[in-house]
């Protein structure tokens, strides 16, 4: 463009000089024709500016590492062909923070449509915001241009991969009278379910005598009652980064999301209803939802993938601990890249806490009372998380 302008200027100076110096008719023609061409170029760019409709079409969702078909469609309603149009596209993965720009050049004939096909592929999941930022129309010689700042944008959801995790639930120690699950190791006072039977001892309540078995065994047999325990599960995903840490690596964020959805999906496949939660910067608080079906998970995913990771002095766990709760989850799966020991200890008092920590290198599993810490790497997460005990 600059080169064309410089050449145009040099040319114009030369023909002006030729017209002044020469008395020939052609010198006049050359000069005036050059002026006419310049005027025509300038006017034509102004005309075509409002005569072109450009739209961006992208797929709503794609999978990771698969090509998504997109296209740029331009419709020229004027009779003038356009030698060159430049569309500047910008891309940003809201979740991972990756961004970039791309310029697409094409021509379009008069009264014609043009479709530019292009593919997008992302290695990581997330919400890719595709914007058509600017359209520049050039004249036939590249001297003049006019632009439109279009501001149209579309989103492409790149779905995370999911894999099956063999999840074993450890027995909870949290009692919940409304629960349908009973402890297999602890006796209680709930008569809905019999824990076991034993011979009568004087301390036993007479109401608990199992008369049927007593008549059978000719001895007094009493029922041992069960303890209903809470088997509620909460899967928490860390969506902030500690202050000073900077941005999380895209592969780490991607791995965390995949672990998150894989855990949730695996629970659903084992008929385990559960809750999920994460810190949502828009509401500046913890967002929690119950997941009964895979659709529930899918509906939440779009919002989750849009979240931009920012630094926060409080972790997701802090928000959970400090929020007002009606009840406590017996099992908490916390997916993060780093965690605070203190917070973990505090939570471990109440619930069975499993921390899935995403790191560059795999470390040994740490198990303390009520807390398990599993590390996994983005490269080998499927292997690392194939068996979980929560």
């Amino acid at each position: 463009m600059l080169k064309s302008r410089i050449e145009g200027l040099i040319w114009f100076v030369l023909v002006f000089f030729a017209y002044i110096y020469s008395d020939s008719y052609f010198a006049l023609f050359l000069f005036i024709m050059s002026v006419v061409i310049l005027l025509f170029l300038g006017i034509s760019t102004k005309i075509i500016k409002n005569k072109v409709e450009i739209s961006l079409k992208v797929p709503g969702t794609i999978n990771k590492d698969t090509l998504g078909d997109c296209y740029l469609e331009a419709k020229n309603t004027s009779f003038l062909p356009i030698s060159k149009v430049k569309c500047r596209l910008s891309f940003k993965n809201l979740m991972t923070g990756e961004e970039g720009k791309e310029e697409v050049y094409f021509s379009i004939n008069g009264k014609a449509n043009e479709k530019i096909h292009w593919h997008i592929r992302s290695k990581f999941c997330g919400d890719i915001e595709v914007k058509l930022e600017e359209v520049v129309y050039y004249d036939y010689l590249g001297i003049f241009s006019t632009s439109n700042n279009l501001l149209s944008h579309n989103d492409i959801i790149v779905l995370p991969d999911m894999f099956y995790i063999n999840i074993d639930l450890l027995e909870s120690t949290v009692e919940n009278s409304e629960s349908i699950f009973y402890s297999i190791s602890q006796k209680g006072t709930d008569s809905s379910e019999i824990f076991g039977i034993k011979e009568y001892t004087p301390e036993d309540n007479l109401k608990n005598i199992h008369w049927k078995l007593t008549s059978k065994f000719d001895e007094l047999i009493v029922k041992e009652l069960s303890t209903p325990i809470d088997n509620s599960i909460l899967v928490l995903l860390e969506t902030s980064t500690p202050i000073g840490k900077g941005r999380e690596l895209p592969k780490t964020l991607d791995a965390m999301i995949e672990a998150f959805v894989s855990v949730s999906k695996s629970l659903l496949e084992n008929d385990r209803m559960h809750s999920v939660g994460w810190f949502d910067p828009e509401i500046e608080g913890l967002l929690m939802a119950e997941i009964y079906t895979i659709d529930d998970l899918s509906n939440l995913l779009r919002g989750l993938l849009k979240i931009e990771r920012k630094e926060n002095q409080y972790s997701c766990m802090d928000y959970y601990i400090n929020m007002e709760k009606d009840s406590v989850f017996s099992h908490i799966v916390y997916i993060t890249s780093e965690y605070s020991e203190g917070v973990i200890k505090e939570l471990a008092n109440e619930s069975q806490l499993t921390v899935l920590q995403c790191e560059d290198t795999q470390e040994e599993e740490k198990i303390t009372e009520n807390t398990s810490v599993f590390t996994f790497t983005p490269e080998s997460m499927e292997e690392d998380l194939r068996q979980l005990m929560i």
Binding site: L28, S83, F91, N109, I116, H119, I128, Y140
Partner: protein
């Protein structure tokens, strides 16, 4: 398969790729048509413009259309031509050139000679023509042979220009042609120029649309857009051409007055800068539009030293052709056509500048030595464009450097700031006694040397009468109105004295001398306004009118401006004492040509009648007598004073258009040799570049091997060569050894990327693992990043060396 995959960065994992649309046959055809149209039009326009400009004769249309055929063939088949065929074609062309070497060389020389002739006729510039070594019967073949080769070369250049999306052709070939037209006034047909301009616009459009590799166009329209835009531009041209011709037809075109004023102003400023110091007078060198009040300043103009001080008319500017705005030189083609005449006249020791002295020498013989004087001119403030020379000059012009003469009328300096110091020999004042000289010459006409002189003078005489008796038709009618019909005479023209009398009487009776006359209004003819309306003026006006009147009366005359060395200036001046001639001595007068004698100044401005010595006409044999003798000597044709050439023996010398042939001079041989060496060097470079490009192409082809285990080692190897080229020393041993160097010279991040690349390469080379597309893409990005970093670290010259000498990428 998608191509043009671009990552947004080597770290980003979002990849954008553009789908390569498979060109349909129709689109490929349109693209080819577009290329053929642009390159073909450019080729034809260029060729026909050159042919029309230089009026090349004897050319067959086929020679030009050969180039068009080549363009068509190349556009259709170039990409499919295998390497071996390209070499064969080049060899075939080489054989054609070698076998037709004589024809090509002579064809080139014939073309150059023709161009020289055209340039000469348009600019007056005389360049000697080259000797042709073949017979005239072979000229046509030779010219056609040369132009066929030239057409093929230009066709190839046009094709490559369009193919490479360049518009260099416009700047290297087309713009110089337009500039040449502007400078020289040599123009081809309007239509040729129009088509060449159109083709150039289409070329620029083509190079802009197709652009560079970085800004490649997508979509289907790119193939046909050039044709559509060509149609739009062509329509614009047609509409505009018709429109312009309607409102400002070519036949009656005169330049816009503002443009003229700008040109004149700029030209005047340049002239003043070059030649003027302190202006000593307001004479305008024959330019009527600049005339204003006459001011002659009392400041030194010239300092003249003569070893025999004598009064003289010093001629500076001489006007040969009258126009309504100024006196000008004769048309350039007249100077060009008469070059041979003046060359042979000078060879025969005849010069219009020293004619009076020559005649005087003939009649006086050895007694003449006492009348010689050496004159030194030191130009202090006078205009230095012209050399000031008297009518009595006795010089050989070859002794002057950097001058240009205009058919022996004026002597102009070609140095940038003119000439301010020169010397020459002259006779003492001969003007006052030219009738005596004429009489003596008449008495000696049978002497061999006088005969020889008269023979030469007859040629010169013919030229003078042909060119210095012309006046425009409207001025002729003006003269007829003012002076009446030319008196009838049995002689060639009325006697000089009678003519002088008529002119002087008219001017004395009808014109009032004033130094501040009314200025000629714009658009009006200067002479007409002077004689019919204002009837007042000073020396410029009087001299212009007198010159036109003498011409009307059939006597050759010219307008002159210069300085007078008056009798008063030289009175009591001792020999060799410098005489300061001031601005007050500046003057304008008319000079007429006296047959067999030469140019004589005639004073027609009344206040100056008594300034210079009066001419002694008592010795004049009588104009009638001399004219009668001319009749007896001539072969009978008495048309307006022209004399037929007396001696027909030496036809070669007498042929005014016979210009001397020559061979190449030593300098030209050297230039030719250097040119050949340069051409050879360029050819060698082209061969070298083709070879290197081929090698690079082969290397890059290896990167696209579908078997990644083969492609990756090649990519890695190339990347390593880039790293070494970037300055990293070669190491033996493991490639991991480079990590530290890379971290040191680039960054830790680069080292990390390099380490991963090593791993992938080693996996490809040594392991049985399958290499994924992701790993392959990583290697490609790695290579691109290295190349990018190295290119960025180089300056523009280093980058050019990388690309055009080392062929790194």
């Amino acid at each position: 398969m998608d191509n043009n995959i671009r990552d947004l960065s080597i770290e980003n994992k979002i990849q954008i790729s553009f789908k390569k649309t498979e060109n349909s046959k129709k689109e490929k055809t349109l693209q080819t048509l577009g290329d053929i149209f642009v390159s073909g039009l450019l080729h034809l326009a260029f060729m026909f413009t050159l042919i029309s400009m230089f009026k090349i004769q004897g050319l067959s249309a086929m020679t030009i259309f050969l180039g068009s055929i080549l363009i068509f063939a190349l556009s259709c088949f170039f990409d499919n031509i295998k390497g071996i065929w390209k070499i064969l074609i080049i060899i075939a062309l080489f054989i054609m050139i070698i076998s037709g070497n004589v024809y090509i060389k002579n064809g080139l020389l014939l073309t150059i000679n023709q161009a020289i002739s055209v340039i000469g006729k348009n600019t007056g510039l005389f360049i000697k023509e080259y000797k042709i070594t073949i017979g005239p019967e072979m000229y046509k073949i030779s010219i056609n042979y040369f132009w066929s080769m030239f057409s093929l070369i230009i066709a190839f250049v046009c094709f490559m220009t369009v193919r490479n999306r360049s518009n260099l052709f416009l700047w290297i070939f087309v713009t110089p042609i337009f500039l040449l037209e502007t400078w020289s006034g040599i123009t081809p047909g309007f239509f040729h120029n129009l088509i060449l301009f159109l083709a150039s616009i289409l070329l620029v459009n083509n190079s802009f649309i197709k652009g560079s590799n970085e800004n490649k166009l997508f979509g289907r329209s790119k193939d046909s857009i050039i044709l559509y835009t060509a149609f739009i531009i062509l329509s614009l041209f047609i509409v505009f051409s018709f429109g312009l011709n309607k409102f400002k037809p070519a036949s009656s075109y005169s330049k816009n007055s503002i443009a003229k004023d700008i040109k004149n102003t700029v030209a005047d400023k340049i002239e003043d800068f070059r030649y003027e110091k302190k202006k000593t007078n307001t004479f305008t060198q024959g330019n009527f539009r600049k005339l204003e009040k006459l001011e002659l300043l009392d400041i030194p103009a010239l300092k003249i030293t003569m070893d025999k001080p004598t009064s003289l008319y010093l001629r500076g500017y001489v006007g040969s052709k009258y126009t309504s705005e100024s006196w000008t030189d004769l048309d350039d083609n007249i100077y060009y056509d008469s070059y041979g005449l003046f060359y042979w006249l000078n060879k025969s020791e005849f010069s219009g500048f020293s004619q009076l002295s020559t005649v005087n020498n003939l009649v006086k013989g050895s007694k003449n030595k006492d009348e010689k004087t050496n004159i030194t001119i030191n130009n202090i403030n006078a205009n230095s464009k012209y050399l000031y020379m008297p009518y009595e000059s006795d010089i050989e012009l070859d002794s002057f450097k950097n001058i240009k003469t205009f058919a022996d009328s004026k002597v102009m300096s070609t140095s940038f700031s003119g000439n301010r110091f020169y010397k020459y020999k002259a006779n003492t004042n001969l003007v006052k006694k030219y009738p005596e000289i004429a009489s003596n010459l008449y008495d000696l006409k049978n002497k061999p040397e006088v005969k020889e002189y008269l023979k030469n003078e007859s040629h010169y005489n013919e030229f003078i009468y042909e060119n210095y008796t012309k006046i425009p038709r409207d001025i002729e009618s003006l003269m007829e109105n003012q002076l009446g019909e030319v008196p009838e005479t049995k002689d060639i023209h009325i006697p000089y004295e009678k003519a002088i009398e008529i002119v002087k009487s008219y001017l004395d009776e009808n014109i009032v001398y004033t130094v501040e006359p009314k200025l000629t209004p714009k658009g009006k003819d200067f002479l007409r306004y002077f004689l019919e309306e204002s009837r007042e003026g000073y020396a410029t006006h009087y001299a212009t009118a007198a010159t036109a009147m003498f011409r009307y009366l059939g006597i050759p005359s010219r307008y002159v401006e210069g300085y007078l060395i008056t009798p008063k200036d030289v009175k009591n001046v001792s020999d060799s004492k410098p005489i300061v001639i001031k601005g007050t001595n500046a003057h304008a007068w008319t000079e007429i040509y006296i047959d067999e004698i030469g140019w004589i100044p005639i004073e027609v401005t009344p206040p100056y009648y008594d300034v210079m010595e009066q001419t002694d006409t008592s010795e004049y044999p009588g104009g009638a007598n001399l004219e009668k003798d001319k009749e007896t000597n001539s072969s009978g044709d008495s048309s307006q004073g022209k004399q037929h050439i007396v001696d027909d023996e030496q036809n070669l010398n007498n042929n005014p258009n016979n210009k001397p042939d020559r061979r190449l001079t030593t300098l030209e041989k050297i230039i030719f040799t250097i040119g050949l060496i340069i051409l050879l060097t360029i050819l060698i470079y082209i061969v070298y570049a083709i070879r290197k490009r081929k090698e690079l192409k082969e290397i890059k082809k290896g990167f696209e091997n579908p078997d990644y285990k083969l492609a990756i080692p090649r990519i890695f190897s190339y990347s390593m060569s880039l790293i070494h080229y970037g300055g990293l020393s070669k190491r033996g041993g493991s490639t991991y050894g480079y990590l530290k160097d890379i971290e040191k010279n680039y960054s830790k991040k680069h080292a990390k990327i390099f380490e991963k690349a090593i791993k992938i390469n080693q996996e490809a080379v040594f392991s049985n693992h399958e290499i994924s597309e992701e790993q392959y893409n990583y290697m490609i990005r790695f290579m691109d990043q290295i190349l990018y970093d190295i290119v960025e670290s180089k300056n523009i010259f280093q980058r050019m060396k990388m690309k055009f000498w080392d062929f790194i990428y």
